[in-house]
């Protein structure tokens, strides 16, 4: 039988991938290590502390990168530049410290919390800062198999040549182990328990056995390898970890943002980030931004700032939904309006965020509009516009 050769990648395609991975291509979303390459380099140049083996930065430098809020001088592109380090993580600094320290230990890290609390975001930036590579990721689903975690085979070549190392298709775990980098495992609890437990020996032994290859039968992890997993606490169909797996993870619980001011800041910053892809300036009046953050917070908490109880919707109303509403409203105003976001525009976009499949959510929103928004609208034009449009749409 003639040997089959693997189909080679179109050179034009390869060039585009390379260009995009170097940040010069036109892609929808660059990985964090590309998007924030200047910041990472600036911090690296100013990092005078020892880093764990294979880490790009010391733990304290990783912390600086994530908490931001300063500017450092560094040579970027041959020129000395003052590089502002933006804040990536808004929340309890101790939480980030615990996450960083966990990745330097022998345990894996599990970021757990309600949907939309920034778990994947933090995971990506940790991997970018520590390993310089946030793309070694596995997305957990009910259909995820052990092959997708460990390795699989190029069947055609195995048939032709028999199993050998060049026929093996390493999964991101194996790539991370060989390179001494971090593996990101998103939504790990969506995997069935048997598949989850494949991680037990990986985390304990830091090795993957390849029984099909008697001579090169084990891949050992290089220093720097670890796993960042994420899990939604509210998700349907989650599979509880086995006791053996639980013991191998450190849990870091990510709460919904506690205070209003921080939430507004997050929405503002993330909205600006997302809209920059469209070259749209993210200009929202402070009153509009406050309206979004306030409405989301009050519906989520089931209580207004004045102490009035309201029914919270069944959907988790995380900051991610607030960001989405803000972005949608800006886009809508830009493309279908006069560019200015109004309370009415927020009402139009907010309904879709809150009311999904449970009719009770509609009732909750109506109650909020009638009881809370109407009263505020007596004194605030943004709330008035919000109330009037919401009433018009909700009936």
């Amino acid at each position: 039988m003639a040997k089959k050769t693997a189909k080679s990648i179109d050179p034009a395609q390869a060039a585009e991938i390379r260009a995009s991975s170097q940040g010069t291509g036109d892609v929808l979303r660059q990985p964090a290590e590309v998007q924030y390459a200047a910041e990472l380099e600036a911090i690296r140049q100013n990092d005078g502390e020892a880093a764990p083996r294979s880490w790009r930065l010391s733990p304290r430098a990783v912390l600086r990168y994530l908490t931001g809020g300063e500017a450092v001088d560094a040579e970027i592109g041959g020129k000395m530049t003052r590089v502002p380090i933006t804040r990536k993580f808004f929340g309890d600094r101790a939480l980030v410290e615990r996450a960083i320290v966990t990745l330097a230990s022998e345990r894996a890290l599990l970021l757990v919390g309600d949907p939309g609390t920034g778990k994947s975001w933090l995971s990506e930036h940790l991997a970018a800062a520590i390993s310089g590579d946030s793309t070694l990721a596995i997305q957990g689903t009910a259909g995820t198999t052990e092959e997708q975690i460990k390795y699989s085979w190029n069947i055609a070549r195995v048939i032709a040549e028999g199993p050998n190392p060049s026929n093996l298709i390493p999964a991101p775990t194996m790539v991370a182990m060989k390179a001494g980098k971090l593996l990101r495992f998103e939504e790990i609890t969506r995997c069935v328990p048997d598949v989850q437990d494949a991680l037990v020996s990986i985390i304990s032994d830091k090795a993957i056995a390849i029984p099909e290859l008697p001579d090169a039968s084990t891949v050992y992890a290089r220093p720097g390898f670890n796993i960042i997993a994420t899990a939604n606490s509210r998700d349907q169909g989650v599979n509880e970890f086995s006791a053996a797996l639980k013991r191998r993870f450190n849990y870091v619980y990510m709460p919904i943002v506690a205070d209003r001011k921080t939430e507004i800041e997050i929405v503002r910053q993330r909205m600006a980030d997302l809209l920059s892809h469209e070259d749209i300036p993210a200009v929202l009046e402070p009153g509009i931004l406050e309206l979004i953050a306030t409405a989301f917070r009050e519906l989520r908490d089931g209580k207004t700032g004045e102490g009035v109880n309201v029914k919270p919707p069944a959907n988790p109303l995380s900051t991610a939904e607030a960001i989405g509403t803000a972005v949608d409203a800006v886009l809508h105003a830009r493309y279908f309006g006069d560019g200015a976001v109004t309370g009415a525009g927020i009402a139009r976009n907010l309904i879709g965020s809150i009311v999904k499949d449970d009719p009770q959510d509609l009732a909750a929103l109506k109650e909020y509009v009638v009881i809370v928004a109407r009263k505020r609208g007596l004194q605030d034009p943004h709330w008035r516009a919000f109330h009037d449009e919401a009433v018009n749409l909700l009936g």
Partner: protein, 820 residues
Amino acid sequence: MDRQKDVSRSMVAEAALAARLDPDALAAQVDQILGEAIDWIPVRHHSPALGRMVAERLRQRRPRIVFIECPWEAQGMIQYLLDPQTRPPVAIYSCYRQDAAAAAHAGGPDTPGVRSSAWYPLVSYSPELIAMQAARDLGAEVQFIDLPHFARIPRALADPLNPEPVSPHPEHEPGPGLQEFALSSAFYQALARIAGHRSWEETWDALFETPRPARTAESLRREVALFCAGVRATADPAAIAADGTLARERFMWQTIRQTLADRGLDPAVAAVVCGGFHIFLDQNDPEPPPAVPPVPPMVTIAPYSYFRISRLAGYGAGNRAPRFYEMCAHSFAATGSHDQVVIEFLIDVIKEARRKGESLSVADAISAAQHALLLAQLRGRREPLLDDLTDALVSCCARGNPLTDATHLLAAIDEVKIGTRLGRVTERIGRLPIISDFYDQLERLELAAVVERENVCDYVLDRRKPLDFARSAFLHRVQFLGLEIGTVSREAAAFGQSIFREHWRILWTPRLEAGLIEKNLLGDTIENAATTLLTESLGSRGAQASATCRTLLNAVEMDLPRLVVQAEPMAAQAIDHDDRLFSLADALAALLILERYAAYRGLDRGNLAELIGRAFDRACLAILDIVAAPEEEWEQVVQALLALAEPAIEREDMNTTLFATQVAAAARVSTVPYLRGLFLGVLCELRRLEVDALASALLGYVRGPREEQIHAGDFLQGVLRVSRIAILLGAQAIVAAVDELLRLADEESFLVILAKLRAAFELLHDRQRDRIAALVAELHGLKEGESLRRLATSVGAAALMAELDASAAAILDQWLGDAP
């Protein structure tokens, strides 16, 4: 190079600059104070590191007199604090009382009486206690210098023209400590921001509690002084003036100067151990300190607990983790570091959490230890602090949201860090009057057995017997004072609970004595203290009928009949001004119990009957206010209606017609099915509504539209909650209505109705349920009990078989009918 020291020093300097202070000027100020002849030793309450520093400093300098920031009026307690039989944690308790008559005599007819008390807790590593011990060992004199708390109640006594007396500080703390000053100072806020500290405790521990090899007593003294200088320089001067700090410092300085002058001592032989903030007091302040009132206070030493000290955390007298810091003190004494603490603390927490049910192991302890060390390193600390250890435990042992998924772990952390240590005081110290009275009463009432062992003692008391009556009154008084003496339950009687028989479960613990000490503020005997508290309670109830009448009941239970007479007009006022059904109904219930008691004791019941009538009438008038009560109030509605229905049915002097009219009106206007059921059920019990009418009301829901049908269950629940007559006399009609409902309801409605019907029928007794079941059987042609047999098949199959049976029977009947 000590990197930790450099990190701290640079942060402090950076914080000073951020707070717009000149670091050199600050240092010069510190040098000047610390270079004075008097040896200033700045401390913070309950700091193990500063306790060590104090001991070493005093040993080096060997002063002849040591001034200590402790309550001046407690000077006589020093010998007891140092007594070998006294074991910390203990507290100096100072209590000052001037009754209204004495106050009027001192300050004029409108001068109110005053009460003030303060606790000064001390633990084994408190710098103040260590200073006393070191002074004793050196043969040095000790003088307490803190301004008495009652000298700050002040001005009403000193200046009768001043209409606004300064209120005393809270009982637990005589004045703000370093923490309170620091939190509001720009210097500390800058430091916390720069260092990334989350709390005052973290800052303090990071700067001062963590041992450093190169640090000496002198260098620590300077660092603390520098820190306090920064805090003082940026604290709000107006706040310092207003919170009593300046008055205290004037008193301290006057005491120091006066004592040195009286003793003919040179300042160079004196040491002052005081809060670091105060070493910068104004030595040239021209204003005199407040005068100390001539009336002497009562001062004693009381056992204290680590738990109580932890509850004061957040105030200067508190400590967030007494046991943890004790472990630190012991570890340092043994090894010169806190290394031992890390492992011991983690193991203790994990053991305790495992005992509570968490699934944790030694592997978790190992991980937590590693995590804590790494966190400390990341945070720039030489050793893990308590905050690092806690974070490590949460990371490694909490499997989810710590607040909901790791409650046992968090509880274990709290218990281990706080500890359960209870102090002991030497027997040489005399007792406060109220404590003597308490133990005398126990002897007199033959209850002394309760203090002989720390086990529960059971007493069944019959208040008709004189000894038991006296015991009951005493125990109720103790309980009313808020002291944890035990629990009481009353036996069930024909109507409600017995007013005579009580079952007491009494447990004496040392905590009770500590609580008793505080009650000395109210009176010298248990009876006086209870009377004072009861009188004050009555005065504060205002228009709360329920609370006022319950207080009346307390007076009866405590055998304070004089107060009952005094309180009756107040109860009348409260009833007249309270328009809430729940409060009025509860007041009525309390008055009815009082009436029964008064009948037994042969007391005059004239006024009580009047009050009962008034409460009843007003409660009836308030019924219409709850026709739309939310679900969380429904049980209260039930209790209120039953409280009114019982006297309405049993007594002839109640305005039953008013009650019935109001309930009927409520039933007409209420749109809440459950509440309508309640109202109509009550009318049924009053025989003001026929059972058939009740069943008709139920059928109204049954035959209504779908959205009304699902409310039938709520309505029935309401009826059955209050009405037994409905079951006794009207079960057949109700069963027929429910049967119709079940036939008419579609599947979706049925599922909703089912849960509510189940809840309704669960309200019935077994016999009542049997009766309902018998009626159902009868309705469906199963007349005799023998017709029933246990199903050996599914319900659906059994129903099909019954249908086939009935068809076969009908066919047979037809055949037999047609047969010639």
